[in-house]
Structure formats: C-alpha cells, structure tokens
C-alpha cells in the first residue's frame, strides 16, 4: 500500500482548503452518513408524530428540529474534518476538560428526565447530555495519552488513560448509567488492544471486567431484571422488547404501510431507542437492511483506511471513534432483534435527539479527519 506517497504532490497542494478536503476525505463514509441522516428524518416523520401530539406540537415539529440539529451536526463534520489532526486534538482536549467538568457537575446541577437517572444539564431552555459530548473528546484524550506512551517508553500512557477511563466510568455508574459505562470501558479496551497490548494482559483485563459485570448483576436489581428478561426464553409482549420483536414480525419485508404502525404509540422511546422497530413495522425490514449496509460501509471504509496509518495518535484516535460509532449501532440494533438485553442506546444519526446528533457529528468529523489520505512517513513495510 505504498501508492499514496507516489501520488503527484499537487494533490496535497490545492490552492484552497475545500477542494483539497474534497479530494482527500473519505467520500464513501461521508455519503453513507448523509444516507443515514436522511433515513433518520424519514423514520422520524413516522416515529415522532405521537410525541408531537402528546406535547401539543404540529406533527412534523420534531422532524424540523431534527433537521436543524442535523445541519449543525454536518457543519461539525465539515469543520472538524477540514482541520488537521493536531488542530482537532487541541480543540478536543479543551472540549474534554469542559465536558468532563460538566459530567462531574451533574450530581449537583443535573436534571432527571423522569427515568430515575441524572444525565442531563438544563440551561436557557436547552438540555444537554454531557456523556454524549464526552465521547469524541474522550477518544482523543486517551488516544493522545496512549500514543505518548507508545512514543516514549518512559511515559506510562496506558496506565494514565486507564485511570481517566475508570474515573469516567465511575461517574457514569453513579448516575447510574451502566450501559454508557460499559461502552466507555469497551472503547478503552479496543484502543488499548490496537496500541499493542499484550494478549495476556488483555485476557486478564477482560476476565476482571466480566467478574465486575457479574457482581453488578448480583447487586443491582434493576440491572439484573433486564438481564433476566433477556435470558428468559419467551418474550413478554408487554415489555419494550416484546413490542419491538412483535413489530419486526408485523412489518415483514415491506412494512404495514406509512402511518399504519402501532408500536410508536405504545413505546415511550419509539423515536430514540426503539426507532428501528418503528422502521421495521412501517417501512419493512428492507430499510433496516439498508441502514445496516450504511453502517457497514462507514465502519469498513474507516478501518481499511486506517490500515496504512503510521501515526500512533491517529491510529488510536481513528479506531476509538469508529468503534464508538459501531458499538452504539450494534447495541441499539442488537436490542431490537433480541440479541442483546434491553439497554437504552441511541442509533447514531437516526435516533431523534440534539445531543446525540451533534455529538455524533463531532465524532464523525474527528474520524474523517483521521481517515483523510495523507502522506505516510515510512514506505518500507
């Protein structure tokens, strides 16, 4: 894979930023992201109508809002991916400090949106979920610290990044948000893995984490009930899971028809965590497959582009951000087909939600900055 460096120099020396960006950015991923967002708007038209009705808004109120957030999100993608990786890093590290402090402030200033967990900060009529915004910044922070350790053996990069991760994980568990905590821990594990962790250490770590998970299961009734519900052989039709499975069966390949679906009226989180169930019911399973293909394209392209990367920081950062993206999608989709226990997780670029959409924009902007084609330092491998 040495062709990149042999490309004519002119390709990296366009007069203006935008054409240069256009030539080097991963357009496959970019188009897939647009595709995901448009599918999300389409599904939102169906899924958010009951919410709009409940809140006394016109039917497409939430679709309009989603569109506004989408514009903001894609501005972030463009803005971040046009910048160089180290400019991104500078922004993200500042962002990390700010969001981390916001997360710490949650127990004091946070609001509980009626789900028994304090995850939101409200001000000036807006509410914001710091843990969503923390994701891209977290990736940069640990990628930077670990890469520092890779470059200079005297810096205990892995240990420092692990401490940061544990701090965040414990803050999330206090909320309590076991799902997000597990997600952050998994991302750290993956970055650690690609940064060259010894297999022995890694197996030991995964073993310890499993024990931790089991202890949580034994001690938390809430957590255990979800797992038990998942493990029990038959689905109770009155739970969210039951509705979701039912709706996929109801929809068949081509769906019951626009506006004909019933699940959106019955699931409180139809427009966020269970949007794929609404999609399956009204538009049929084919649109779900299309969405999955978009996800596979983005994940596949990003990994393939990262294969040639030589810079430790960009490697770690790219792998971390794409893994965040992939994990979120897999958890959300896996729950609705009952491959995973019930866990509220938004589907990136599809689920309704400003925090999620804008934060995903940050994450993807960062990813695209990492996967932009650039000259690599070593040609001899």
């Amino acid at each position: 894979m040495t062709d990149i460096i042999f490309r004519p120099r002119s390709e990296f020396f366009e007069e203006s930023e935008l054409p240069r960006w256009w030539k080097t950015v991963d357009r496959w991923s970019l188009f897939s992201l647009v595709g995901l967002f448009l599918s999300g708007l389409l599904l939102g038209m169906a899924a958010s109508a009951p919410l709009a009705e409940a809140n006394g808004q016109q039917a497409f109120y939430y679709v309009n809002r989603q569109f506004m957030y989408g514009a903001l999100s894609f501005t972030c993608i463009l803005g971040l991916s046009i910048l160089s990786v180290q400019e991104n890093r500078r922004i993200a590290l500042i962002g990390f400090l700010v969001t981390f402090m916001l997360l710490c402030a949650l127990p004091i200033f946070g609001t509980d949106h009626g789900k028994g967990a304090v995850r939101w900060l409200s001000f000036f009529g807006f509410s914001l979920q710091p843990s969503e915004f923390l994701k891209p910044f977290f990736v940069v922070a640990i990628a930077w610290v670990i890469s520092a350790g890779q470059k200079d053996k005297n810096i205990p990069g892995t240990a420092i990044s692990f401490v940061i991760t544990l701090l965040i994980v414990s803050l999330l568990i206090m909320q309590p948000d076991f799902g997000q905590a597990a997600l952050f821990l998994s991302i750290w594990t993956i970055v650690y893995f690609v940064s060259g962790a010894s297999y022995r250490l890694l197996v030991g770590f995964i073993f310890l984490t499993s024990i931790g998970g089991f202890m949580t299961y034994m001690n938390s009734e809430h957590f255990a009930r979800r797992i038990d519900g998942f493990l029990s052989p038959d689905v109770d039709p009155r739970t969210q899971l039951g509705f979701a499975t039912n709706s996929i069966q109801e929809g068949g390949l081509f769906g019951v028809g626009l506006g004909e679906g019933v699940i959106k009226w019955r699931l409180p989180d139809a427009h966020t965590d269970f949007i794929i169930a609404v999609a399956a019911e009204e538009y049929g399973v084919l649109i779900c497959i299309l969405i999955i293909i978009f996800f596979i394209i983005i994940v596949g392209r990003s990994f393939i582009l990262l294969l040639d990367e030589r810079d430790y920081f960009i490697r770690n950062c790219g792998v971390g951000s794409i893994s965040f993206f992939a994990f979120q999608a897999i958890i959300n989709l896996g729950v609705s087909v009952r491959l995973l226990p019930a866990k509220g997780m938004t589907l990136p670029f599809i689920s309704y939600g400003g925090s999620s959409l804008v934060a995903s924009g940050f994450l993807m902007g960062l990813l695209l900055a990492c996967t932009r084609r650039r000259p690599q330092g070593n040609v001899n491998q």
Binding site: D234, P237, R310
Partner: protein
C-alpha cells in the same frame, strides 16, 4: 514534528519498535473489523428471519411459572390459613389471528355478562398485536371461551391471592393486587397490612421459611368480630375496635376494626367521605382518640410506685377545681375526700388531678413516655409507622391535669393495650407484635415494680367488683378493668360535643395473673335498651367486653373463678 504537507511524521514511527510492527497492528485492526461486520450481518440476518417468519411465535402461551408468581402463605398462630394462592387464568388475545371477530365479540359478551359488548369490540378491533381481556376467569368461563373455537384467544396462568376467611382479620392482613403482568404469570404485590409490611419476605419463596406465622388466633378473631359487630349494631355506633394482647409478650391475638372489608375485594380509598369512617381505616392502629378515664390508672400506678400515696391515702375531692382558667369537675359529687382506691373505682377526675399534682408534670410525662404513649408503636403494620400520638408540647399545670385523666392526649387503642400490658404483666414494657413467638423477652426494662403491678391488678379488679364496671356479667371469670368515656372533640366548632363520645373499656383477665389485655373502643355508642339512654362505657363498652371475655376465655383455656 510537522512536514510541509500539514501532516505529522514522527521519527519514532519510522522505525517500528521491535515488539509492535505494522503487520501486527494491521492484524489486530482486521480482527476488530471482522468482528464488527460479522455482528452487523448477524443482526441483519436475524431481522430478515424474523420478518420472513411472522408465525414463529416468540410469544409462548405455555405456563412458565417462574420467579414472579410465588408468594408465601400467611397462617394464624394455630396454623390455620389466612392467605394463600390459587392458580387461575387470565384471558388475552392476538386480535390479528382471530378469523371471525364479530362472532368472538358476541360470544365473549355472553360469557362475561358484566362487561359490555363495546368493550370487547374496542379491544378486538384494535390494531394492537396483543390485548388483555380479563385478569382472572373461572374454569367454567375458560371452557366456554375454548368452545368459541376461534384462534387468537389465549390463557395466561397466574397465581391469585385469596383470603379464605373473607372479612376476618381483614385489617391485619391488608390486601394485595397484581403488579407486573405477563402471559406466563403475574406478580402479586401487598397493598396494606402485613401483606405490605412483609412484602419482601412473602415474595422470597425459596429462603427456607414457607409461610408467615401471625400471632392472630383466627377462631378468637372471628368471635370477637362477631360480638363487636352485633354490639355496634345494637348501640348504633359509627364504628369500633378491639385489641386482644398477651400482656407478657405483646403478641396480638386479635385485632379488629369495624366497619370491616373483604381483602379479596379490597375497596378503593374513598376520598369524598372522612377517611376515618372508611372500612379500610384500621381504627385500632390508625385511629387516635382521647380515651379519657382509662388513663387514670397510669397516674395512680405511678403515684403508688413513687410512694407518694398508698391505696388508703385520703385525697381531697372537693370541687370544682380551677386550673389555668379551666374548671375540672366530676360527673357527680363524691364528698370531701376519697381514698386512692376509691378515686379509681369511682373514677374521680378531681382526685386524679390532685394525685398527679403530688407527682409533678415532668415525672408524669416521663412515665407516659416509658409506657409508649407518646411515640409511634413498633407494630408490624405499615399503617402504624404513620401514627404518632397527639399531646401538648409543654406540660404546664393545666395540660398535666387533663393528661392525668386522659384528656388533651390522643393515642390509638394499640397504644392503650401496650400501656395496660406493661402495667399488669409485672411492670415491664412490652412491644406490640403481630408475629408468633417473636417477642423479645430477654431484655426486660421495668417501668414499675412487681409490687406496684400487683396493686394495679387488684385496683382494676375492684373496679369490676364494685366500681364502674360492676353491672356486667363476665361469665364467672375474674376480670379487672377501667372504663373511659370521653367526649369527642368537635372539629368544626372547636371544643367538645356533648352527645358524642368515645367509650372505652380496658380490661385484664384472669385477674390473678393478668395474662390477657382486652381493649374495646366504641365510636359514638348509645345504649337505648332500658328506659333511659346511656353513652357511658359502663353501659356500652363494658357489656360488649364482658360478652367477649365470657366467650373467648374458654378458648384460651381459662377456668371460671380460679
């Protein structure tokens, strides 16, 4: 270090470290990518499989009675069932599977005449994939539903809580309802009484204890409820309550409140009326009343224990007594003086106040506190956690005077039963309990001496032999007790009603050992059986208590005139 391309080239990267080569990195990256893509494909495949096979029912209708359907039985002290479970069925439907919906709607309306045709039509014509039709159905109804012969109607088995004795001990038991419902079972949740208080314990069906054993004796309980109900009917009272307690352990053999209810069909809270008149209101526990002269024995017991008086000490009963601008008088003139014994036997307010003055307000209040009259009880009912006695904050001369004969202080009948038990059992404090053999007997804290306790018993005996309770027939059993007739406070005009009373008889039997304490309280009774009408406890609560004791004493193994 930056190169001219605006990208970084780290010298360190150029020479890959020995232990981590690019090939190694690539291998790991490809491993993760493969895993991600495989999972995405797995999810996609699963979706297609589910969409292509709408008939592969994930919802099962078979019984799977798992963790949510168990609940322990509740038994009385002799092992008789108070609450148990029976298996019934719930009816639900998958409307899209039904072929002839109109036929099903009509047939169901015939089988369940208490539900409207429209109810079934709305349910079955909806687009929902799943609807509940009825929470519990009888085996006969189940057969009729099967006979409709249409697909899409299903039965979900569940354990239903039943109380085989109906209304008996309803207030102690409380009640239950269905919580989470699934097709394979339903959760039963306690809503009141011991069902709520011991909810966690009752749900843990595998912890070794197979049942909850109460101290209640259901035979005695049913007798007492019957006599209470008859008595209340005879006297036109609004309600009443009974507590029968073992004085040495605090175990409650009977806890009755009237009006009563059937826990199998627990009524909803009725908010439009005064909640204190609702059948679900537990008067023995939740009702706090000024109970009047039954308190006099506390004052006298303390005075005897402190040795400020003896039984024969003369007490000035010249009235009326003016304290803090209020007049305290007796219901009739008892002469210039009475002995301490006569103060109790004849129930003199003035005499009691003069005795209280010899003790002092600080010590009297402390004594009431020791008897548990100023605090919540530790009874194992959720209702008792909320009930705090009412009493004046500062005990000046007037408050002390009225408290000494049971006015200006309101407690529940349970509080009274605990205080009487503690006075007559030898003088140590007991805690009320609804559990069999759970009383803590090893750590006794004595409030009065054994000798004083003996004196109290004989004083209470004298009340029955020659005092306010002498007219009733206790069936040949030796009983002691103290009456109390307290005017009810008028919440609208302030002050007290002249014609509405709470009439109480706190009794102790057999008098020699005082094993049992019985507290009977009637709300607004009026005895019109003779030529005159009476509200005094001696004509209302006492005869009812007498009847109860003469009926339950044989069941407790007591002999007449020992």
């Amino acid at each position: 270090m930056e190169n001219e391309f605006g990208s970084i080239v780290h010298p360190g990267n150029v020479n890959e470290p020995e232990n981590y080569k690019l090939s190694n990195f690539r291998f790991r990256l490809i491993a993760i990518l493969t895993a991600f893509v495989l999972v995405f494909c797995l999810i996609g495949t699963q979706m297609i499989i589910m969409a292509m096979n709408p008939d592969s029912k994930i919802i099962q209708t078979e019984a799977n009675l798992g963790e949510i359907s168990g609940r322990k039985d509740i038994e009385d002290r002799r092992g008789k069932l108070l609450a148990t479970n029976i298996t019934v069925n719930a009816l639900y439907a998958h409307p899209h599977e039904i072929i002839d919906k109109n036929k099903v709607v009509i047939e169901l309306a015939n089988i369940f005449p208490d539900l409207e045709l429209q109810f079934f039509r709305d349910k079955l014509m909806s687009k929902k994939p799943f609807v509940w039709l009825r929470k519990t159905i009888s085996p006969k109804q189940q057969q009729s539903v099967k006979d409709i012969g249409q697909p899409g109607l299903y039965f979900g088995p569940r354990e239903m809580r039943v109380y085989p004795n109906g209304k008996i001990a309803s207030h102690a038991l409380g009640g239950s309802r269905f919580g989470n419902e699934r097709v394979d079972g339903a959760e039963v949740i306690g809503t009141a009484g011991v069902e709520l208080y011991f909810d966690k314990f009752l749900r843990k069906i595998n912890d070794g204890d197979s049942k909850l054993e109460l101290s209640i004796d259901v035979t005695i309980q049913s007798l007492i409820e019957q006599i209470l109900k008859d008595g209340i009917g005879l006297m036109g009272a609004k309600g009443g309550s009974v507590v029968l307690m073992e004085s040495k352990t605090g175990e409650i053999l009977s806890l009755a409140s009237f009006p009563e209810f059937d826990p199998n069909r627990r009524p909803k809270n009725l908010f439009k009326d005064d909640p204190a008149n609702s059948p679900i209101f537990n008067r023995a526990v939740q009702g706090i009343y000024e109970l009047g002269s039954v308190f006099k024995i506390f004052t006298v017991a303390l005075a005897l224990d402190e040795k400020v008086v003896e039984l024969g000490t003369k007490v000035n009963t010249k009235g009326p007594l003016r304290i803090g601008g209020r007049r305290i008088s007796d219901h009739k003139y008892f002469g210039p003086s009475l002995t301490v014994e006569e103060v109790i036997v004849k129930s003199s307010n003035i005499g009691t106040v003069r005795i209280a003055n010899k003790i002092g307000s600080v010590r009297l209040k402390e004594f009431y506190k020791q008897l548990g009259l100023l605090e919540k009880t530790s009874l194992e009912l959720p209702e008792s956690k909320l009930i705090v006695p009412q009493f004046p904050k500062k005990w000046k001369s007037l408050e002390t005077a009225t408290a000494s004969y049971g006015h200006g202080i309101a407690v529940s009948p349970i509080h009274l039963a605990v205080a009487y038990s503690s006075l007559v059992n030898g003088g140590y404090k007991v805690e009320p309990t609804l559990l069999k053999n759970q009383a803590k007997v090893e750590s006794r804290s004595f409030i009065i001496s054994e000798t004083t306790s003996q004196l109290v018993r004989s004083l209470l005996g004298q009340v029955v032999v020659k005092g306010t309770a002498k007219e009733s027939n206790f069936g040949g059993y030796n009983v002691g007790g103290k009456t109390g007739t307290a005017e009810k406070p008028d919440p609208i005009r302030g002050g007290y009603y002249e014609d509405k009373v709470i009439s109480t008889f706190a009794s102790v039997f057999p008098i020699s050992t005082a094993d049992y304490v019985l507290v009977v309280t009637l709300d607004e009774p009026e005895n019109n059986l003779g030529s005159e009408s009476f509200r005094y406890a001696s004509k209302t609560a006492v005869p009812i208590s007498a009847k109860m004791i003469s009926r339950i004493a044989p069941l407790l193994g007591l002999k007449t005139n020992e």
